[in-house]
């Protein structure tokens, strides 16, 4: 008997899924399918989406600092291309000499202005398929795609308490090709979002605290790879590590020694590629370093004179047939235009901007992976209790009760515990008893947190 046979005996006779679980999963899928049928179907948002969410938070945008240093990397008309390690070590040396922009004091905000553009691909029916048989082997040929970049100018204001304002104004859409513009027209010119303004209050966007983080590159890299830095978190994988380092490089207020360490971490990451002299998305010259995973290359562009991050872009590493875009197409970019400390939230700030807004996460189970509802309000326990009473929460408990795992309760609401974690102004509410629930999850009990 070998180890595979032994393994195959392990947990071999588990029952199949419960009918309710299957029905719930199928119901969720059918709902998603129905939702998708409102034409035009927007599909295949590039992998940028996650970092884009972070950009809403855009804690800081590295603008070209005013301090001019002699060009250290590509001296004059130097044709000799130094290696990646050398370029990044030089960037690290420059970073270490730069002043950090201070985080905002009381009544002040850290202001950033950036330009972002993401490729949105939509599909409409291909008129040709009405008269010709369309190719089954290439399903995307049955649809006609148009890909369009909708640039946005985004401004953020973040106070020391992590609360502030974000405003984004959409500019004129840019079609990749005339053919794609035609496909869009043929589909009845659906609205592309140009001219739209988003303006909303932000809360819970605290500054990255580097005071307990090492500046020794190996130690720092280990922490990043283990996803051990609070709020610098993401799925596993080396590409993600590259993205996370990019996220931290945006933060111009972190100490110069820390920025320097970040460049040294990039220098040590495997598979990072030196792109040499490139232009950032608004045409400023910089040095590009890139990481390719699957169909996407993520490029960071920094200013060799100041080591500030000028911008980032994602490019299709090869032709992506289902998006109908050729290799080299820019699928997303962000350019950091300006960052400074200001004394106001700007004109016509939306109500509530700059004020911490209490968020509440009501969790179904004492685990951060459990399903949760996120709400706003003053009283976490009362807010979540209401959800349990209404039956919005508690599907799992109901099952345990039915199965006799827990005693039947006349009132379906379990005892609730409120905990506080890394994010200010967020209270996490879990079913359970006593403060140990919070501690087990690496949090502390909220003041006044027992329901």
């Amino acid at each position: 008997m070998n180890e595979i046979d032994l393994l195959q005996e392990l947990r071999a006779e588990l029952p199949g899924p419960r009918a309710e679980s299957r029905a719930a999963a199928r119901g969720a899928l059918v709902a998603r399918i129905e939702q998708s049928q409102r034409p035009p179907v927007r599909a295949a948002v590039p992998a940028w989406r996650r970092s884009r969410l972070r950009l809403v938070a855009a804690l800081a945008a590295a603008a070209a600092l005013l301090v001019a240093l002699p060009t250290l990397i590509l001296g004059g008309d130097g044709k000799v291309q130094p290696g990646l390690g050398q370029v990044l070590r030089t960037a690290a040396a420059v970073a270490a000499t730069q002043p950090a922009e201070p985080p905002p004091g009381p009544g002040q905000y850290f202001y950033t202005r950036s330009r972002e553009a993401y490729l949105t691909t939509s599909f409409g029916p291909n008129p040709r398929c009405a008269t010709h048989p369309c190719d089954r082997e290439h399903p995307w040929e049955a649809t006609r795609a148009w890909s369009v970049l909708v640039p946005r100018i985004r401004q953020t204001w973040i106070g020391a308490n992590g609360a502030g304002r974000a405003r984004a104004v959409a500019a004129k859409p840019e079609f990749l090709t005339a053919g794609q513009r035609k496909a869009w027209k043929a589909a009845g010119s659906p609205h592309l979002g140009s001219g739209g303004v988003e303006d909303f209050a932000l809360s819970g966007q605290p500054f990255l605290d580097t005071s307990n983080l090492p500046t020794e590159p190996k130690a720092l890299r280990r922490l990043i790879e283990a996803r051990k830095i609070p709020r610098v978190d993401g799925p596993p994988g080396k590409a993600e590590t590259f993205t996370l380092v990019g996220d931290m490089l945006r933060d111009t207020y972190v100490p110069p020694a820390f920025r320097a360490a970040l460049y040294r971490v990039v220098a040590e990451l495997p598979k990072v590629e030196l792109r040499g002299e490139v232009k950032d998305p608004v045409g400023r010259p910089g040095i590009g370093v890139a990481y390719t995973k699957g169909s996407t290359t993520h490029e960071l562009i920094f200013d060799p004179e100041t080591s500030a991050l000028l911008g980032e872009r994602e490019v299709a590493a090869h032709r992506i047939p289902e998006l109908q875009v050729p290799a080299g197409t820019e699928t997303g970019s962000v350019t950091y235009l300006e960052s400074k400390v200001v004394d106001s939230l700007g004109k016509e700030a939306p109500p509530g901007a700059g004020h911490l807004r209490q968020s509440i996460g009501c969790y179904e189970k004492p685990s951060l992976h459990a399903s949760a509802a996120v709400l706003h309000g003053p009283d976490p326990i009362a807010t979540c209790t209401k959800l349990w009473r209404e039956g919005t929460m508690g599907m799992t408990l109901k099952r345990l009760e039915r199965e006799g795992k827990i005693p039947k309760r006349p009132d379906k609401t379990p005892n609730l515990i409120a905990c506080e974690g890394d994010y200010p102004a967020v209270t996490y509410v879990f079913p359970g008893y006593g403060p140990s629930v919070c501690r087990r999850l690496g949090m502390r009990p909220a003041a006044d947190g027992e329901g």
Partner: protein, 194 residues
């Protein structure tokens, strides 16, 4: 009966057709997830797998007639976030001889399984790195072939071969000296000790 690839392609025009993929494969995906992390998390992750699959159906390789490797690949990605929980459960099992996964079922007696070899096996599994564990369990539990695992994990077949070989070597080493094969030695594709 249509091929999975045809059903996925057709669902690009008529999305409702994607439900066919669900009906064909939900139970298999759920069974695999459940075997790894227990019924509760499996309910959640299996449902998510099909939502993700639906959203990504435009990227499905139409040359691949069977959707299972693709679906198991998505399920494996979703499992990654729970690797630590999985390992914790395996360690608890090895320590107490009581499997938390079995324990989660109504009606299934939480069998006390004191077999020394079983506990050593579970302990060894807990020490297999995540990437190797995925390859190993897709092979042993999902019963995918090497090329299918390669598709699921988006790595070359040679990588699957070496991950499996390393994982099996680790387990053999942990199960003790009565297993003659050396750590890390390549193993034949069909399994079986040489």
């Amino acid at each position: 009966m249509t091929l999975d690839s045809e059903a996925v392609s057709a669902s690009l025009h008529t999305p409702a057709g994607f439900a066919t993929i669900f009906d064909r494969h939900f139970d298999a995906v759920h069974a695999y997830l459940q075997r790894r992390v227990g019924p509760d998390l499996a309910d959640e992750l299996a449902a998510q797998t099909f939502l993700v699959a639906f959203d990504k159906r435009g990227g499905y390789d139409p040359a691949q007639p069977d959707a299972r490797p693709w679906l198991f690949g998505i399920a494996t990605n979703l499992l990654r976030r729970h690797h630590r929980d999985e390992v914790r459960q395996l360690r608890a099992y090895a320590r107490s001889a009581e499997d938390p996964v079995l324990d989660a079922f109504d009606g299934v007696e939480a069998r006390l399984d004191a077999s020394k070899m079983r506990r050593e096996l579970v302990d060894a599994l807990a020490n297999v790195p995540a990437e190797e564990l995925d390859a190993l369990l897709l092979y042993a539990w999902a019963e995918l072939s090497y090329p299918e695992i390669a598709d699921a994990l988006d790595v070359p077949t040679g990588t699957v071969r070496s991950r499996l070989s390393r994982a099996r070597g680790r387990i053999r080493a942990a199960l003790g000296a009565d297993q003659p094969q050396a750590f890390g030695q390549p193993v034949p594709e069909e399994g079986g000790s040489r």
